[in-house]
């Protein structure tokens, strides 16, 4: 390998390193602005103030969904450690249900109730046919260790 070629390889390596360094700097400067949502625990630790628009994500707590008159509904978002109550009026995606992932967009009121303008469903990375789910449920292996 001649000196000219070695110099070119060093140039390519410096491009890769420079690009990576720039990306690391940008990403660390953005920090949690790159997070799409806060978990209920984040809401407590970051002390998000009332009236600030943000997104909250977690699981819809079991037996927490309540429908008021009309389109109004309430449910609780949990991450296993902390919970945040959510109020919303409007249509929910078809995947919205108890025990499922959810992202709500809105703001906390003074009483700590999250008033959502929009509710999105976040599904997990599991894919299987219904028969497999039924078989797992029968054998008691369904959602073990979750």
């Amino acid at each position: 390998m001649n000196a000219r070629k070695r110099r070119r390889i060093a140039f390519v390596a410096s491009l890769l390193l420079g690009g990576a360094a720039a990306a690391v700097l940008v990403i660390s400067a953005l920090q949690d602005n790159v997070l799409y949502f806060y978990s209920p625990s984040d809401v407590y630790t970051k002390k998000v103030s009332a009236g600030t628009a943000f997104r909250i994500g977690g699981l819809v707590q079991k037996h927490s969904v309540k429908h008021d008159s009309g389109m109004k509904m309430q449910f609780v978002v949990t991450d296993g450690a902390r919970t945040v109550p959510v109020e919303y009026s409007g249509d929910v995606p078809s995947l919205f249900r108890e025990g499922q992932g959810v992202v709500a967009i809105g703001r906390l009121n003074e009483g700590g109730l999250f008033q959502a303008d929009q509710v999105l469903a976040k599904h997990d990375e599991k894919y299987m046919p219904p028969e497999v789910v039924d078989a797992l449920k029968r054998s008691g292996e369904w959602q073990k260790g979750q």
């Binding site: 070629k5 070119r8 390889i9 140039f11 390519v12 491009l15 890769l16 420079g18 690009g19 990576a20 720039a22 990306a23 990403i27 790159v34 997070l35 799409y36 949502f37 806060y38 978990s39 994500g57 929910v92 995606p93 078809s94 995947l95 919205f96 992202v103 929009q118 509710v119 999105l120 469903a121 976040k122 599904h123 997990d124 990375e125 599991k126 894919y127 299987m128 046919p129 219904p130 028969e131 497999v132 789910v133």
Partner: protein
């Protein structure tokens, strides 16, 4: 590496690729056909129902979009280090194909997001970094076209392509580093894939089919660029 660079001779490349191309087309047709057939006959998903079938056109498009960028980066490195015109041509030829697969990934993802998430688009880490991939492809094409001199165009766009490759790991790990609405990793994870084999088969067949399709288009584009340059040289010789 004499064995590899023997094919860097345009004449040898034309001969080899010419005889390889029909086989590539056949492989693409076969795998895409089988993938689509399986994709339409698998049972529905327990959560997503029949919408799960969008996965078979969406996920392979995103994979091949990223693979195409990887191919473009490798060709760009060979172009910069070895200064071979065929590497320059190969890098330039991959860009529009990669951009089309990226657009396909974005469009099919949007069509999937609306019924499942409840939104056509969100600005989360995965979606935003993948949109950035499309913009990088478009900027690469624009840069390459903006410089008249072929060699200079190849050098400048190779530098751009190599720096832009930093976006590939960002796309891959975005769902681990940050909270996203996009789902997490289903295939390459500890404890094996979380996708049932009945869905994995059509997914891998379609991925194979898209990959063959990429190489078909790539080969055709490289061949036509070689012929283009040949005919231009002939015309210049006649005029000169």
């Amino acid at each position: 590496m004499p064995s590899l660079f023997e094919f860097a001779n345009p004449k040898k490349f034309m001969d080899l690729s010419g005889s390889l191309l029909p086989w590539l087309v056949a492989a693409a047709a076969l795998t895409l056909g089988a993938g689509l057939l399986l994709g339409f006959t698998t049972p529905p998903d327990y959560q997503q129902g029949d919408t799960v079938r969008i996965m078979f056109v969406h996920v392979p498009a995103a994979w091949v979009a990223m693979m195409a960028y990887g191919v473009m980066t490798v060709a760009s490195i060979f172009g910069l280090v070895n200064r071979h015109p065929l590497a320059d041509i190969a890098a330039r030829a991959a860009a529009p194909i990669g951009a089309v697969f990226t657009a396909l990934g974005l469009i099919t993802g949007s069509l999937w997001g609306r019924p499942m998430w409840g939104a056509w688009w969100v600005w989360d880490g995965r979606l935003t970094s993948f949109l950035l991939l499309l913009l990088i492809y478009l900027a690469y094409i624009a840069l390459n076209d903006a410089i008249e001199n072929e060699t200079r165009a190849a050098r400048a766009s190779a530098v751009f392509a190599i720096v832009g490759a930093v976006n590939l790991p960002i796309i891959e790990f975005s769902v681990q580093w940050w909270t996203t609405l996009h789902q997490g990793e289903s295939i390459l994870r500890k404890g094996g894939p979380t996708i049932a084999p009945v869905f994995l088969w059509p997914l891998f067949l379609m991925a194979l089919g898209y990959t063959f399709l990429f190489f078909v288009f790539w080969t055709i584009r490289i061949r036509s660029e070689i012929l283009n340059r040949r005919s231009r040289t002939l015309l210049e010789m006649r005029a000169g």
